[in-house]
């Protein structure tokens, strides 16, 4: 739709050869074509065609891209990293099964030695046989070795010693991983819980602040209608606008780069408050007499507010949201147009 509008507009402006790429950036990315981000075009040799219209890119977008890089493991070798990945990918339960499997497999190896007629295990100086009782003894010995208990009632001889050493090392490592996994799982849960609580508190604060902004702006509008001195209005407008733009930025970043899922109701509430705050602000600005002395910070903040609000619309956010949220986003954009 935006594309079509743009084509029509350019056509009206006198451009004769304008065409619309219907699929847009979504189709482009989906078909696996390369894209650029503005941080790339800011390289020493910028493509002259990739001109940015509005000066440097937004700081928030940049830091967001940079912050997404993989965690660096400079001092850790490739081997350690791959081992860590191996452990990381398995669940605690899977690791435990691997541990038991190692013990049973080793037990079977001891028994196989006896079955093939080799001297593998000795119990009280007597060779453990290849029968069922012998198999039970082999598994028992395997457990005693793997858990590093080592009673010594059964001892390995010959080739079985090699298996016993390898088993002891492997089983201890795996068991260590099981324990570590178990502990870290609890820790991860706690950390994500803390994240969630902080995030929800932040959302609450956004809503509270927006309500404050609305009531403050209504108060200023009343002052304005009562023809209060401009300098009193000016200072209050300045602080309200700054608070407003901060919360607007938070909401915009939330829509562009959601770190955690937000409940639709909560997000809808914030968007609705934003819409009414923007409308109240537009009314307030309309009430101010022409030539009203606005301080420089106010000018800059109002400009930033408009840009931020324009960036909130159903079609321009990079994620898809429910129709209700899209409705509010479009209302925000419409309100932003009133600020111009």
């Amino acid at each position: 739709m935006r594309g079509q509008q743009a084509v029509a507009l350019l056509h009206d402006l006198g451009y004769s050869n304008v065409r619309d790429y219907r699929g847009g950036i979504a189709d482009w990315v989906e078909s696996g074509q390369p894209t650029e981000s503005a941080t790339e075009t800011a390289a020493p040799e910028p493509d002259p065609r990739a001109t940015m219209l509005d000066g440097p890119p937004l700081a928030a977008s940049q830091s967001g891209v940079a912050g997404r890089g993989p965690a660096r493991l400079s001092r850790m070798g490739q081997f350690d990293k791959s081992m860590l990945d191996l452990v990381q990918q398995r669940s605690t339960w899977q690791l435990f099964v691997i541990w038991i499997g190692t013990i049973l497999l080793s037990g079977f190896c001891y028994w196989l030695g006896a079955y093939l007629g080799k001297r593998g295990l000795l119990e009280g100086g007597v060779v453990v046989g290849a029968d069922l009782k012998g198999f039970a003894s082999a598994v028992y010995f395997s457990f005693v070795t793997a858990t590093s208990i080592g009673y010594g009632d059964i001892v390995p001889v010959g080739g079985a010693r090699v298996i016993a050493v390898a088993e002891a090392i492997a089983a201890l490592l795996i068991f260590g991983a099981v324990v570590a996994k178990f502990v870290s799982h609890r820790q991860d849960e706690l950390v994500s819980e803390i994240h969630r609580i902080t995030f929800e508190e932040r959302l609450d604060r956004v809503e509270t602040n927006l309500h404050m902004v609305i009531s403050e702006m209504l108060a200023i509008t009343a002052m304005c209608e009562a023809k209060a001195p401009p300098n009193r209005i000016s200072t209050r407008l300045e602080s309200a606008a700054i608070l407003f733009s901060g919360e607007l930025r938070t909401t915009r970043d939330l829509l562009y780069q959601p770190r955690l899922a937000v409940e639709e109701g909560v997000l809808g509430g914030i968007l609705a408050s934003l819409t009414s705050a923007l409308n109240v602000l537009a009314d307030l600005l309309a009430c101010l007499p022409p030539g009203f002395p606005r301080s420089q910070p106010t000018e800059i903040t109002l400009e930033r507010l408009t840009v931020l609000a324009e960036e909130i619309c159903g079609e321009c956010v990079p994620h898809s949201y429910t129709p209700r949220l899209v409705f509010w986003m479009d209302r925000i954009q419409a309100a932003a147009l009133r600020l111009k």
Binding site: R2, Q4, L9, S16, G24, S37, P318
Partner: protein, 83 residues
């Protein structure tokens, strides 16, 4: 107010003037085709077709001439989602 103008203009040209992805890919490095991203700047900063210019829809009227000096140049416009 501006949206009324847009809506009327869309009715005039809808269904015509399209460019396919294939052509766009083929002519990506062709300097006779100018690619224009009409999404907001934040979206452009995050991701855009290589070599594209950024001209947010809201600024088309005010800044088109500055950015696209040649009225006869071939221009391909794109936005965010399937329309």
């Amino acid at each position: 107010m501006a949206s009324e103008v847009n809506a009327a203009a869309v009715a005039d040209t809808s269904g015509t003037h399209e460019i396919s992805r294939e052509e766009l890919v083929r002519r990506l490095h062709d300097s006779s085709l100018t690619i224009v991203d009409v999404l907001p700047q934040a979206s452009f900063v995050e991701e855009h077709i290589p070599g594209a210019l950024n001209l947010p829809l809201e600024q088309v009227a005010s800044r088109a001439r500055e950015l696209l000096p040649d009225f006869n140049a071939e221009i391909a416009v794109y936005c965010g989602k399937f329309t």
